[in-house]
Symmetry: C3
Amino acid sequence: MAGAGTSKTGAGRFFEDYRLGEVIEHAVPRTVSGGERALYQALYPARHALYSSDEFARACGLPAAPLDDLIAFHTVFGKTVPDISLNAVANLGYAEGRWLKPVWPGDTLRAVSEVIGLKQNSSGRSGVVWVRSRGLNQRDEVAVEFCRWVMVRKNDAAAKAPEMAVPELAPVVPAERLVIPAGLDFTRYDFARAGERHRLADYAIGERIDHLDGVTLSEAEHMMATRLWQNTAKVHFDARARPDGHRLIYGGHVISMARALSFNGLANAQIMLGLNGGTHANPCFAGDTITAWSEVLDKAQTTAPGVGALRLRTVARKGDSGFDLRGADGKYLPEVLLDLDYWVAMPV
Amino acid sequence: MAGAGTSKTGAGRFFEDYRLGEVIEHAVPRTVSGGERALYQALYPARHALYSSDEFARACGLPAAPLDDLIAFHTVFGKTVPDISLNAVANLGYAEGRWLKPVWPGDTLRAVSEVIGLKQNSSGRSGVVWVRSRGLNQRDEVAVEFCRWVMVRKNDAAAKAPEMAVPELAPVVPAERLVIPAGLDFTRYDFARAGERHRLADYAIGERIDHLDGVTLSEAEHMMATRLWQNTAKVHFDARARPDGHRLIYGGHVISMARALSFNGLANAQIMLGLNGGTHANPCFAGDTITAWSEVLDKAQTTAPGVGALRLRTVARKGDSGFDLRGADGKYLPEVLLDLDYWVAMPV
Amino acid sequence: MAGAGTSKTGAGRFFEDYRLGEVIEHAVPRTVSGGERALYQALYPARHALYSSDEFARACGLPAAPLDDLIAFHTVFGKTVPDISLNAVANLGYAEGRWLKPVWPGDTLRAVSEVIGLKQNSSGRSGVVWVRSRGLNQRDEVAVEFCRWVMVRKNDAAAKAPEMAVPELAPVVPAERLVIPAGLDFTRYDFARAGERHRLADYAIGERIDHLDGVTLSEAEHMMATRLWQNTAKVHFDARARPDGHRLIYGGHVISMARALSFNGLANAQIMLGLNGGTHANPCFAGDTITAWSEVLDKAQTTAPGVGALRLRTVARKGDSGFDLRGADGKYLPEVLLDLDYWVAMPV
């Protein structure tokens, strides 16, 4: 159609459209409810008790069960897509992510991103854009924040490259910067109702946990999940977007699936506190069967009563291929889908 | 089974069962909640801010975000199916549709239809039934009303035809008959949060907008959507209902998909006010990829502060075939799925 | 992986792990909302008015529409899976089921089971476990209870068999033990809004009803439904779990589909009161088209105004093969999926 009828429509930003320090207010704020929670539980085998039961959450000092931390993450991520990653070639990484306020049914989230880094590729046809994105609730409190960087195409290869600036991002969120939800108290934590008896003290750094369960993915489910976060990237929905006719599954779908599968062995890893990093190592498609394993990377104390922090790597993979991550060439093995590094809250 | 065990079950009405002026109270009132909203957003790429965010709606003078206008439409339509279109051969058209009261979580909708026209076909084996259907809330206020006409089979070709009466239906709902939700005020409308900067003044009559995005449909999603409106027409759910083994997708699924896709270019077309007409030009099946374009047909003022009305044609089609609607023979092209004519509210 | 990384993960219980009289508190309490109701209506053609409309429920003496009785059943059943049926070879039967308190949006359900019977099979490699499971709300009231028995593998064939005890279970819940929701009054029941005119007096013992409609099942829908009840049995989600690559559909999905299909002919069978028995006669897979028929087994009075009890057999089958249940050999025909025996409340 060669551009006919496109004067009103958004084609997304290209690499040359970003400016360092620019603040982008993303569109379409979103009010969430028990409907999002029910759908989340229908789409993922999510069973962490603090998010499943108002009674369990109250016994832990919260007013009610919050919505899953990844609902907050995906909702904010989805809002950034039209401005950040509609023309992205690749989602390269995450850093410095923190959950700062729980999200409750009735809350309204909006998203704001700041451009914190820009670097044109040597080809001159694309560049890397670093942004720090924040999700704010209706009281303008930051509920979740994270940095991500994406490779974005240039619209005009001849366009002048923006000034180069590569941000220094912390390889790990320091434990003392993690924020525990106000009131949280695990001193009378009910391990039987949570589903497992293991507390922070039972996990050893370097320990690996095979989460055993597997889920075979379907087109309808990943599209519903991705739409639920108002993420509109064409490649997830339009079978014509890739030459092979496959719809690429949103990386966040794999994150949520891995986190939910990790219940088996990490049932008490109740709250996601920090996102240190993450790599979508290989594309994922309907028909793939996802399994997951985790490795304990670190442990830390917090100031909240009975609450410790555990740093985990959770890996999602196709099929069931052991704990191998990389081949002899140092690259991720083809069956590895996700390598996620994050902090959780757990009873000590 | 030749009728065994069917003395209690409803086979639906046939053409000879309708009487002019008859009022049919449809069964199964329905209370809606945030669950319907979340599912709507999971099933369609719906992003109009007024329906997504309580905060945005409050800034526009409403008490909270209403449920999508098409949730009200489909809920009422679904209730009419067992009495109107269970034995329909074709859904022929819509006219004189208006949304009169927003629907909020907690509201209960019921549906009533009046038979306003009847015309037996020359074959004597079927006839056209015109009805005016109304959806009423728990305060007996009409939330949505529309006329539609369907071709219905006769059970007994020898049955006497009912008296013929063809209603005169307005080709367009006059702008002065559109009803703006009480309190709506677009004078402080936030274009950044809504997602686009275009206001009523920026749209020209005759202008065409290509909405760019495409969605490939799946069986699970259209069945969940159709069931959500308690629409039970067999052909949408039972693969045995058609000789080709395809499940016919409910036309309303295509309407919602087209309306949601129209966000890209019509993000400020916040509220559906009137339904002037609509044709389901060709059947739609799982695997089809839907795209949409719109044409500005008219513009009008309203008495609400800052609120204008825009008359649109939105066309849903399979694949991406330009703006062509009809072939040399005057018939809809085979890739055209929907031709919808409606009024929306937009900031002036 | 030969057990590496599995010291923290639950492999489920084996036959030799159960003790007679043992009480198992199942993990992960669950708060339900309007989200579960909307999803239930999207997944099943559920239309019983008492569960669809707050207004209808109020006119029948209840404070609002409860959640579908099968939402309560599946939620409790799902909680028992990790402790009872993760290593089950077969789900053998149900008995003595009763719904004792309606479940409302906002309620939190937890589940407790008592081991009431144990019998090792002659092979010595498995045994039958009988449990009585109860779902309790946040006020520790029993909302639903039922017995079920499953065949469970032994982990170690040489392990000593537990003491044998086969419980005596009532073949039918006596009508006088059925519990009608407090306040229920059908004396001003609105048959038009409920969808059918048939009352208890119109049903004859021995009468059979063909529910006519059919639904073709999809992978995405049965997985979403099963996950919604936090039922994690691998065989429903992991295409690698069976040699044929099919995902086995949760038997409860068939129960809900059959109950919803039974609306056509049993629209006034509003409430499930008792579960006398049930057999999942054959496995069910995506692509199967489910139809259902019912037989009236008994009728009874209750002490609630205008409320009678009807005992039904509802049979779900693949395709449409008449009312035959068993072949000449006395075994269920291969197309029979479910044979359910239950009590419902209906206006007299």
